[in-house]
């Protein structure tokens, strides 16, 4: 079976700087949750950016569903929107809009009519435990609630792969647990999850843990 997303012999560096990734290989299957751990500056975010088609590798190739990703920026943009959803460490929301509006964005961008998008957004907010806050302006929500809105937005449009970059990086322990519960509860069974994290409690929930050392991935026992 083809991996949802695969990186083959990926090398990457910024400009003429040192290599960040050195011949890295990675496969994440459909429905699989993979954690990438490593110290700050080890290249975790770069790895996610390449996997999510935000950055083109200096060398190497990315496959989606077994098909190589073309070089055309237009087609890469389209594939990115179709395949991936992101959860970032920093909370990204339209601050002047409601939780429901923010969650519906990913659906509206895929052409779902507003009525249906709103209905699905409410369901996604329900899955992350925010059903009662759907109509609240996001400025009234706590940090943990905001991150859960971002998770709801990411999973609402049923992407094939969710990329999470330090999703609990700015949250306390208790809030992190609620956010992780939300992420695992809202994710569809066939949605792959690739998460970059320092947080052991995030890694423990994943099917595989990979450590990024000197630009290469080393698999750790779970």
């Amino acid at each position: 079976m083809n991996a949802a997303v695969a990186l083959e012999g990926v090398w990457h560096r910024y400009g003429s700087g040192p290599w960040v990734l050195e011949g890295l290989d990675l496969e994440v299957g459909a429905g699989e949750a993979v954690a990438v751990m490593g110290p700050s500056g080890s290249g975790k975010t770069t790895l996610l950016s390449i996997a999510g088609l935000l950055t083109e590798p200096t060398r190497g190739r990315v496959r989606l569903g077994g098909v190589p990703v073309p070089r055309s920026q237009r087609r890469r943009d389209r594939l990115r929107a179709e395949w991936f959803a992101w959860v970032f460490q920093t909370v990204n929301v339209l601050g002047h809009r409601t939780a429901e509006d923010n969650t519906a964005l990913s659906l509206l961008a895929r052409g779902v009519p507003r009525g249906e998008a709103t209905r699905q957004a409410r369901a996604a907010l329900g899955a992350v435990g925010l059903a009662d806050r759907a109509g609240s302006p996001v400025v009234d929500l706590s940090g943990g609630e905001l991150q859960r809105v971002c998770i709801a937005r990411a999973v609402a449009a049923a992407p094939k792969v969710v990329l999470a970059d330090e999703p609990t990086g700015q949250l306390d322990h208790a809030t992190s647990l609620r956010v992780l519960d939300a992420l695992w509860a809202a994710r569809r069974p066939d949605t792959a999850l690739l998460v970059a994290t320092h947080d052991p409690q995030v890694a423990e929930r994943c099917d595989r843990i990979l450590r990024l050392v000197d630009g290469r991935l080393i698999e750790e026992p779970t």
């Binding site: 950016s49 935000l54 990204n92 339209l94 509006d101 509206l108 961008a109 895929r110 507003r114 937005r153």
Partner: protein, 360 residues
Amino acid sequence: MGRWRLRDLAVDAVRNVAGTPARSLLLGVVAAGVVGGLAFTELAFTQGLLGFQASFAAKGGHVVVASNDDGLPAARCAALAATPGITGAAAVEPGAAVETDVAPGTLFQTGRITAGGLRLFTAGTPPEVAEAADRWILGAAAADELGLEPGMWLSIDGESRQVGAVVDTEDRNPQIARWILTIAPPVGDVTQCWVEYAPGAQSGRIELLDTIFADTGDNLVVRPWIRLDEFARNPIEELATRPQRNAWVAAGLLLAALWWLATWFRRAHIGLYRAVGTSPTALLILGFVEAALPLIVGAAAGTLWATAAWAAGTGGFPDPDQARIAVRAAASTLLVALAAAPLLWPLTGRGSVAQQLKDR
């Protein structure tokens, strides 16, 4: 995978505008100030030109005088009044200097003029010439010196007539302020033919009279009543070269720049739209609608404010031509701003999404 529906994109833009009232209000107020200021400037400038043109016309700026000591046919002169582009024509014949029974020893100039011709000397308030037929028409200075008013009797060289009208010629032709005139039929020859053209009839004024009276001999002189070279102002050229004629470009770009500045502080929002799969075209539409709402409302309010302020200051509404110029400047400014303002949205969307999402 589908893409944003246009209606949903517009609704999202409207909600973004409504959700950020301070930013929207600021842009609207600045748009009102910039567009309104430009509209007001145009109204004030064109008012100056219109004032000059009115004064020019009142002083006889559109009058051309043909004169020939050998004589001009009075009938041909009077008939010019019916020519398109000519608002009045009068044959004028100065007479002898005379004494009156009221003021013996003081000489006054006499003259005769064809019916309808007095309006050429008294712009704005022509007397009822029909009622003044067979009566004396006195210049204001002559009437003052003689102590006469309409209805009184005056005898000149034994010929007694009632005073039919006293005409104030100070603005247009102060030379005849001491004249005593009679209305005469357009027969025989006269030495002067006064013709007033419509303001729009700019060219061929002198040439027309040259042609009409070409057969009257070599002593024919045709000249404008007010020599144009005595007036340095040329309203048409002034309008075409006014300093603010291209200000709509700068004003529009100024408004667009303000929007660009606001956009710069919204890079994270743009990154978010991109992260969920919004295309550059959809971003352009989103940016356009978000800019259009405060800009259109602000520009309309500014234009209305300028008109109201101008009307309050002058006590009247703008002339249609003035209004057209002011509205054109306002609309041009708005169009430039609308065309340029959204451009930064898709341009901003060219960098790294991840980096944009971190920008605050």
